[in-house]
Amino acid sequence: MSDAATKPVHDQALCVFAAKDFASGAHPVWCPGCGDYGVLAGLERALATLGKPPHEVVLVSGIGCSSRLPGYMSTYGFHGVHGRALPVATGIKLVRPELEVIAVGGDGDGYSIGGNHFIHACRRNADILYVVMDNRVYGMTKGQPSPTTEPDWDSDIAPGGIGLRPFNPLAIAIASGANYVARGFSGDPDGLANLIVDGIRWPGFAFIEVLSPCITFRPEQSEWKKVVRPTSLTIEQDRAAATAWCSATTASAWVSCTVATARRPRRHCSRKSRLPISNANS
């Protein structure tokens, strides 16, 4: 883990912006109570903390409820087509490395139609941050199972459940070579802001999977906030948590990703980059 990524988050010297400076003022189309509001708040706070002016930030997204986010921020933005946020973000970053480029989207956008770009972005390792608002459903199209949906979740299009093992974003990111892999919870915008700051500072591709409830099509997800246990911030203080963390970051990272682990801040699964950063081919 590089120094930059472990710097304390609240570096006052940098805080020349307030979170509200990053709001566009446009009224989100999101349902009241949608988890994505928390992600928006987390992003605004993180950018304020980082002190990057809005015009030096570009938010890139695909299509979905979550992908509407760029319109709600005062930064530059690119609201492209479904599933293609990562190549667009990579193209921007490669020609304008001084800009802060952040791709955002949903589980459908990122893991279903965008799955190929996801695994290849992990190996391409361009210095961008990718935030996925995972609500385990296609929200925008009104409730179909996404790759992360539980196999027995009933819906019109897959009565009785889709019956497939869920896609494990963290495991796949790690297997694909991502160096910074973390998970956050939209119900904890401050914790999320910490992760985002870390992820932006991380010198290469950083991936944050955010559990972000869809209260309309997955109302049961409003229970997530209860399941997400606060764990001690410094895991070293807690032997049990440390052990769990350890196993989670190695072999079984991809089977143990339950909601319970969601709020562990800075849960990076980092491996030393075997190749120079930002080498998205010459």
Binding site: P54, H79, R84, G91, N281
Partner: protein, 554 residues
């Protein structure tokens, strides 16, 4: 192959014009192949009706190429008697067969292995001598082509060529060309020329995914881009490729993607995004025989419909086609300027026949006037109106990083400020804005070109222009002058310029290389030509021959 390259380069060194195309058998690598080379004191833009000379290094599976190598009684077939009898498919041309011992039975195995091209060089040397190319040009060509491969290899190849040249007089054939005029010319393929034009125009980012016959374009481009501080990124697929380019372009760098039919089909969704979000980009499609995977290495002009009409919704774009190998440079450069200035995708329809024809050209000193994208947004109220509706449909797109001009590139129907909207007013306003950019686009003299006089016009584009012009020259010589009209702008059709070019014409013949007469129906559908116009349309993979067009006309 190398023999053809040496021959062409030697001829070019000596001041001749020339063109080489290549044929390969089914085997992926190392199988049978043929190089078709023409040389002349005049510029060459099309494959000929017949070849004068056929030199067989061996006869293995050569008959599959018969349709592509037209020979007749006047042709001369040179072959090593040890290679065996002339196969029926070649012999039926009735060309005169001349024996020439090319292989060196005394060559040691190492020589044949390491310097295995010596038979080829023997042939190249002999042919060069036959048309009167001086040995020094042959030597220079060999040195150029084997550059970096070591002096030993070069010497061995030169030795082979010298031996061939020495054997040539014994054939008592007369293929000697008139003296050539030396000039600064370029030996370049259409693919290279497109790449060069794009670089000239400032393209510094290429997103791509390999596909025949477009790969050599980006392979040529890669080191040059690198030298110029640009970037070529190999995407994981064509969806990535075009979105990479679009991202780079949004960020301010003129960007391009390069593909062929199957990849192009995958790109049309994002092409529509470029239209809706008004992001400049150039898409080069080096067409090959379709549909589907078709024939990867052979030519066709069957992506016209996709280029003009591909993508759901009303997605107006500009479609250009180069007029010749030499024109690939200018058309590519122009394409970038149009894209940048109109903030939309511009498609360049080239084809395998243009793209992979290595040609001696006279580089043009004239270049399209640079046009830049407008980035200087007026002092903005917040939010910045990226998609403002006003008298000028082209509205500034400030570069990310510009303070106070933040905007979101938007593929949904959007307000002037770029926010998603769904009302009829905004939808129609933005559709009209985008349509107007295209309607008002005036290519000026870049609309196309027109040659000749007469009341018959042959209308063509891309690689069918060369054979059409050759046909016209032949017809004119026979007392039947015709016009040849070459369209550079396929969409939006340059109605006024075309009408002027067609003034006084009584017969219009649209020549194209696809089954569906795609350009023809487009021209009629847009009322650019009357329904009485005639169509000559057939698919690839064979190139049009001048005689094919000439015999249709009269």
């Amino acid at each position: 192959m190398t023999a053809g390259a040496v021959f062409l380069r030697a001829a070019a060194n000596a001041g001749y014009y020339g063109m080489m195309t290549q044929l390969f058998g089914a085997q992926v690598r190392g199988g049978e192949s043929a190089a078709l080379v023409q040389v002349s004191t005049e510029p060459i833009e099309a494959q000929p009706d017949r070849y004068d000379l056929f030199v067989a290094l061996d006869w293995d599976k050569v008959e599959q190429f018969a349709a592509e190598i037209p020979l007749d009684e006047a042709s001369v077939i040179v072959a090593d008697p040890e290679a065996g009898a002339v196969p029926a498919g070649i012999a039926k041309s009735k060309g005169r067969v001349v024996s020439l011992k090319m292989s060196d039975p005394d060559a040691i195995r190492l020589e044949r292995g390491l310097y295995g091209k010596r038979v080829n060089m023997f042939a190249a040397g002999a042919v060069c001598a036959l048309i009167g190319v001086d040995a020094k040009h042959v030597q220079a060509a060999i040195e150029n082509i084997f550059e970096g491969k070591g002096a030993e290899l070069i010497a061995a190849n030169v030795k082979g060529a010298v031996a061939g040249a020495a054997a040539a007089p014994g054939l008592t054939l007369n293929f000697r060309l008139d003296q050539a005029t030396l000039a600064a010319r370029w030996l370049i393929s259409g693919n290279q020329a497109l790449a060069l034009g794009a670089l000239r125009a400032g393209v510094r980012f290429v997103g791509c995914y390999p596909i025949t016959p477009a790969t050599d374009l980006v392979e040529w481009l890669a080191p040059h881009l690198k030298k110029l501080g640009g970037r070529l990124v190999l995407g994981e697929d064509e969806l990535a490729a075009i979105n990479l380019a679009l991202g780079a372009s949004y960020a301010g760098t003129p960007a391009m993607t390069v593909t062929s039919g199957p990849g192009f089909s995958l790109m049309v969704e994002t092409l529509g995004l470029a239209v809706a979000a008004e992001i400049p980009m150039v898409l080069i499609d080096v067409m090959r025989a379709g549909p589907s995977t078709g024939i990867a290495s052979k030519t066709e002009q069957s992506d016209v419909n996709l280029a003009i009409y591909g993508a759901h919704g009303d997605a107006p774009r500009v479609v250009l086609a180069p007029i010749s190998v030499a024109d690939c440079i200018n058309t590519a450069e122009y394409a970038v300027y149009v894209a940048e200035s109109l903030q939309l995708p511009v498609i360049v329809l080239s084809d395998q026949s243009l793209g992979q024809a290595t040609t001696v050209i006279d580089p043009s000193s004239e270049r399209p006037k640079p046009l830049k994208r407008r980035t200087n947004g007026v002092a903005a109220d917040k939010p910045f109106k990226r998609y403002a509706i006003g008298p000028d449909p082209i509205t500034p797109m400030p570069l990310p990083g510009t303070p106070g001009r933040e905007w979101v590139a938007e593929g949904l129907t959007h307000s002037e400020a770029g926010l998603p909207a769904s009302g009829a007013g905004v939808h129609v306003a933005q559709i009209n804005k985008r349509a107007k950019k295209v309607q008002r686009f005036d290519p000026g003299k870049y609309w196309g070109e027109s040659w000749g006089e007469g009341d018959i016009a042959v209308l063509a584009f891309g690689s069918t222009i060369g054979p059409a012009r050759a046909a016209a020259r032949r017809l004119a010589a026979a007392g039947h002058p015709i016009r040849v009209i070459a369209l550079r702008v396929l969409s939006p059709l340059p109605m006024a310029a075309l009408a002027r070019a067609l003034d006084g014409v009584h017969r219009i013949i649209v020549v194209e290389q696809n089954h569906g007469a795609q350009l023809y129906h487009h021209l009629i559908g847009q009322k650019a030509i009357p329904p009485s116009a005639e169509s000559v349309a057939r698919p690839g993979p064979l190139p049009y021959r001048p005689s094919e067009i000439a015999s249709y006309v009269v």
